[in-house]
């Protein structure tokens, strides 16, 4: 198994507090009077669209020449339509940009035949991370991750959108923890949360912002028990505790509690790759393949400038979450880790999905 994932890990600076490397100023790029189209592969409203619309006016101000920046929504196929369109039609002059989310990359990584786009050729500008927390119903009588083994063969009913969605990450994680999970498909995260509140399911996860807003009250009233976060990626490429949930163990810690040893091997490496694409670098801004370096640098500098604005962090915490953006060259590192899956790894995850959930490729 050839693996590039650790080759880049020494230079990883994905977590809070590590400033991006200073970049060369490129003065000859000017977007005055131009119109930049930001293609969002979803309908208006919803996570990816809101994320793009949060950044759009700021990016327009930060780019040289203050171009008009407009959002163009191309929905359909769970982001496949928009990604295909960007891949075939997008210009490489920096005037057509693309906002991706976890599923956009998942489809390509899993080899969905409808996804004809090649995201590994695109040029990333920056990425926005998120975290996720797994929680159980208090009816199960478990107080923390340390007691997970007591569940034994007890059935956990898990609301999920589908095995190839973002839920691949928790599904694979729970299997690695030997939990007896029965997923019920066709439910997005908010439907799942509602089902949890109704008592129809007894395990669920939420990404950080909705967790803090809507699940914390349930934890306080005693109906939900937080078990673990997925963690964040540390500078050495290992999993670290999520700074938003410092009291919760991350996935690798919980794995060690159950198995008595740190996670390693193909399953964990594959999980981690999907975790990076799904959470640690969930939303990414892309330029078209072959975009000149000075335009890429201009964009990357704009992203750095935006996140350095004094009120940015405060405004971002409501709209897009409380994590530091992945900026500068760090985004390359994250990007390369996402596309580090070997043929063998892809085969492995396809088999896993086919055996467990009858997914056809």
């Amino acid at each position: 198994m050839k693996r590039t994932i650790y080759a880049f890990s020494t230079s990883l600076l994905l977590v809070a507090g590590f400033g991006p490397a200073p970049q060369a100023l490129s003065s000859d790029v000017d977007f005055s009077g131009e119109r930049i189209e930001w293609l969002v592969p979803f309908r208006e409203g919803g996570g990816t669209d809101t994320w793009a619309r949060f950044f759009a006016p700021r990016l327009s101000e930060a780019l040289p020449g203050q171009p008009t920046l407009i959002i163009r929504n191309v929905p359909g196929g769970g982001s496949i339509n928009g990604a295909n369109q960007f891949d075939t039609r997008g210009k490489n002059n920096g005037q057509e940009i693309f906002g991706s989310t976890a599923s956009t990359l998942f489809y390509a990584m899993l080899g969905d035949r409808r996804a004809s786009y090649q995201p590994q050729d695109w040029v990333p500008v920056f990425a926005t991370p998120t975290g996720g927390v797994l929680y159980l119903s208090s009816d199960l009588g478990i107080d923390s991750a340390a007691e997970l083994a007591e569940l034994g063969k007890q059935e956990l009913i898990f609301p999920s959108l589908g095995p190839t969605s973002l839920d691949l990450v928790p599904l694979l994680a729970m299997e690695m923890l030997h939990l007896n999970v029965r997923p019920v498909f066709g439910m997005d995260r908010s439907a799942g949360r509602l089902a949890f509140e109704r008592g129809e399911v007894n395990v669920d996860y939420q990404t950080s912002a909705p967790y803090l807003k809507n699940v914390t009250p349930l934890v306080e009233e005693g109906s939900a028990v937080p078990i673990m976060s997925w963690g964040v990626l540390g500078e050495d490429g290992s999993l670290q505790r999520d700074p938003s949930f410092p009291d919760l163990p991350h996935f690798a810690e919980v794995y060690e509690m159950i198995h008595g040893e740190a996670p390693q091997g193909q399953a964990f490496e594959v999980w981690k790759t999907f975790f990076i694409a799904g959470f640690a670098a969930q939303k990414m801004l892309f330029l078209q393949e072959g975009t000149p370096q000075e335009i890429v640098d201009t964009y990357r500098k704009a992203a750095i400038d935006i996140s350095a604005q004094p009120d940015f962090q405060e405004q971002a915490s409501v709209a897009i979450g409380d994590y530091d953006q992945i900026l500068g060259d760090n985004v390359d590192t994250a990007f390369e880790m996402i596309f580090s899956l070997s043929e063998d790894d892809t085969q492995w995850i396809q088999n896993w999905l086919a055996e467990n959930y009858d997914v056809k490729f």
Binding site: E37, E44, T50, R53, N73, G77, G186, L194, R198, V318
Partner: protein
């Protein structure tokens, strides 16, 4: 609580907030009038403006727009038979026949008064209910929601018209169409024919326009008159207000229905108008008028679809779960201005919640008032010769359909569904039944699957399920009685008419029924290509429907002429029309083919010119003026909405400037 309520009113009246509310209302009016755009397009136009606005102004503008769209979308539903948005599809059924009778102003003012009433009712319910809604919403689990979709489906019988079996077949066809695309349980693609477009299923907007609007356009063109058959226009707007006052209890019940359906996340706002319409039919003693211009058929859906917005706010604010497409964008807008919905909306952010409610009430008053003022004037549109209006109508519905996925596929789907709609109309298959089946299919399958996963078959014994089951039983009994009475009536009618339909005369409808049977057979075959969890629902429908289609075939071949199952408008009333059945279908096919070849803008321009010269016999100068107006408006709209109109083969070869390329 009261001090918070009035403090919120005070802050809304201070500063420029009201101005922004008015601005939102104005935009909502303009967008709602344009069919197919609705709240989703409107809100997406507003989203870029939110950056840097203060919270209350931004909220007021968003709400102003959301609240007024279900009011103003009535214009095209009534005047042109084109559903203005998915929330006013049912309004078409009786609103448009009223316009044809020359009573457009009456229908419009009744609709707007009902909208106003519904909107205010929704705001009132929201005021009181938002504090205690949480446990009630949580009481509706998957099992209860499944039962509600069944209850909605039971309305089909009421809308089946003269022949129950035909109504059921139409509904089954809708259900099977509704299963197109990814199966909820397994994600497998059903009935997709390996076409990417069909993997998401046919969008509701396209369905509504194809099933209702296209057949009406073709029909009107063939008759070659204006929409209104009566001149001068009768039934002024005062009559409409009186109608609404006379049927106030119906409006109240429908507004309550609207609130409840809107408040339940997962049921979706697009069924509200149908449920209200079905309720109006079931509770009216003399049903003969429905579908032919019964004012109750206008009041019911309009009262409910405005009340729905108040209801839909509840899950949006309390759980951060949008109940409809426009609520999803509203939620995005809230997040962009720094408000995150959740339980805090009724504690620390209660003042924001009441600002929203006041804005909702005020926007409804402003919107309905403006629409009422416009109604008398706008209803004169119905006196224009239809051949002159038709290219605009076709441009508008193509543009609206194109909003669904913004690809050429939308236009192809529109044409295909339109052809289906034209045949359904010709052979008397009730189109409302088809659409209800289509709207409810995905919810039904999804909730049944979830209920079984969560509770097993014991979900049937849940108290909520039992209560809804009783309602369901009542609804079915009423409906069956009513169909029996109607078919009795038509028996008597036919006995008077007498005569025989020759086998040759029956052939077209028999062929159509056979075609539908073939589709169900394919549905059955297709169901066996996927895993059992994804198979049960489409296979069950297909099997049941094959039996019913078989019964229908026998009766169509053997039945007496009095059998209401026999209907072919081309044999009965349309024989004398100067233009053949397929004539305008060819025009439309030409247009879609043109879009494929040279792109939407060029093809539409050519269509305008050719149609106005050849079919409307317009002079060259007025043809060019009308074409310029139409295309100018279209490109302006596309520019504002940041749309790339569909391009064709030509654009792949040559690089043309926007908007041509």
């Amino acid at each position: 609580m009261f001090d918070v309520i009035f403090a919120a009113l005070g802050s809304l009246f201070s500063g420029p907030h009201l101005l922004y509310l008015g601005l939102g209302v104005l935009m909502g009016l303009c967008i709602g009038i344009f069919p197919g755009l609705g709240g989703i397009a409107g809100l997406s136009l507003l989203l870029p403006l939110l950056y840097g606005m203060d919270t209350i102004s931004a909220l007021a503008m968003l709400i102003g727009l959301v609240a007024v769209i279900p009011t103003s979308d009535t214009f095209t539903s009534v005047l042109m038979g084109i559903p203005g948005s998915s929330g006013s599809q049912a309004t078409v059924l009786d609103g448009f026949p009223l316009a044809k009778k020359g009573q457009a102003a009456r229908a419009l003012s009744a609709a707007f008064t009902a909208s106003l009433f519904g909107g205010l009712f929704g705001a009132l319910v929201l005021t009181l209910f938002v504090l205690i809604a949480r446990p009630i919403i949580l009481a509706f689990g998957s099992a209860e929601l499944f039962m509600l979709t069944l209850l909605g489906l039971s309305m089909v019988a009421g809308l089946a018209g003269k022949s129950l079996i035909k109504g059921l077949c139409a509904c089954g066809l809708g259900l099977l169409f509704g299963t197109m695309g990814g199966a909820p349980a397994t994600g497998e693609f059903r009935l997709s024919f390996d076409v990417d477009y069909l993997m998401d299923g046919i969008p509701l907007v396209v369905m509504g326009l194809g099933i209702f609007a296209l057949p009406e356009i073709v029909d009107l063109l063939r008759r070659n008159t204006s929409i209104s058959e009566a001149t001068p226009l009768g039934g002024g707007w005062i009559t409409g207000v009186r109608d609404m006052i006379r049927h106030k209890w119906l409006a109240l019940r429908c507004a309550a229905l609207g609130c409840i359906v809107g408040a339940l996340p997962g049921l979706g706002g697009s069924v509200v108008d149908w449920i209200a319409y079905g309720h109006a039919v079931q509770t009216t003693k003399s049903k003969g008028g429905f579908g032919k211009g019964e004012i109750r058929g206008v009041i019911a859906p309009e009262a409910s679809n405005n009340a729905k917005e108040g209801g839909a706010m509840i899950p949006t604010l309390l759980f951060g779960i949008p109940g409809s497409g426009s609520m999803a964008i509203f939620l995005g807008g809230m997040i962009l201005i720094g408000l995150e919905p959740g339980p805090n909306m009724v504690s620390s952010n209660l003042d924001v919640t009441y600002t929203i409610i006041w804005s909702l009430a005020l926007a409804n008053v402003l919107g309905a008032g403006a629409c009422l003022l416009l109604s008398g004037w706008v209803s004169r549109l119905t006196t224009i010769p239809y051949a002159l209006m038709a290219p605009f109508m076709i441009m508008v519905i193509c543009f609206a359909a194109f909003q669904a996925t913004r690809s050429l596929g939308d236009l192809v789907a529109l044409l295909a569904v339109g052809v289906l709609g034209i045949f359904l109309k010709r052979f008397g298959w009730p189109r409302p039944a088809f659409l209800i089946g289509f709207v409810l299919a995905s919810g039904m399958e999804n909730y049944l699957y979830q209920a079984l996963q969560f509770n097993g078959w014991s979900f049937i014994t849940k108290p909520g399920v039992l209560i809804i089951a009783v309602l369901l039983l009542v609804s079915v009994v009423i409906a069956v009685r009513q169909v029996a009475r109607l078919s009795h009536q038509s028996d008597a009618d036919a006995a008077v008419k007498g005569g025989q339909v020759s086998l040759k005369g029956r052939l077209p409808q028999v062929a159509f029924t056979l075609g539908i049977g073939a589709f169900f057979s394919y549905g059955l075959f297709d169901a066996f290509q996927v895993m059992p969890l994804a198979r049960v629902f489409p296979a069950g429908i297909s099997l049941t429907m094959l039996v019913l289609v078989g019964v229908m075939l026998v009766r169509q071949l053997r039945g007496k002429v009095s059998d209401p199952i026999l209907q072919d408008m081309e044999q009965d009333e349309n024989v004398a029309l100067p233009v053949g059945f397929y004539h305008y279908l060819l025009w439309l096919t030409g247009l879609v083919l043109g879009c494929y070849l040279v792109g939407y803008v060029i093809a539409m321009t050519l269509f305008f010119v050719a149609f106005l010269l050849i079919r409307a016999h317009a002079s060259l100068s007025s043809t060019l003026t009308l074409t310029a107006c139409g295309m100018g408006f279209l490109t302006l709209l596309a520019h504002l909405m940041v749309l790339n109109l569909p391009s064709g083969l030509l654009q792949q070869v040559v690089d043309l400037p926007w908007p041509l390329g």
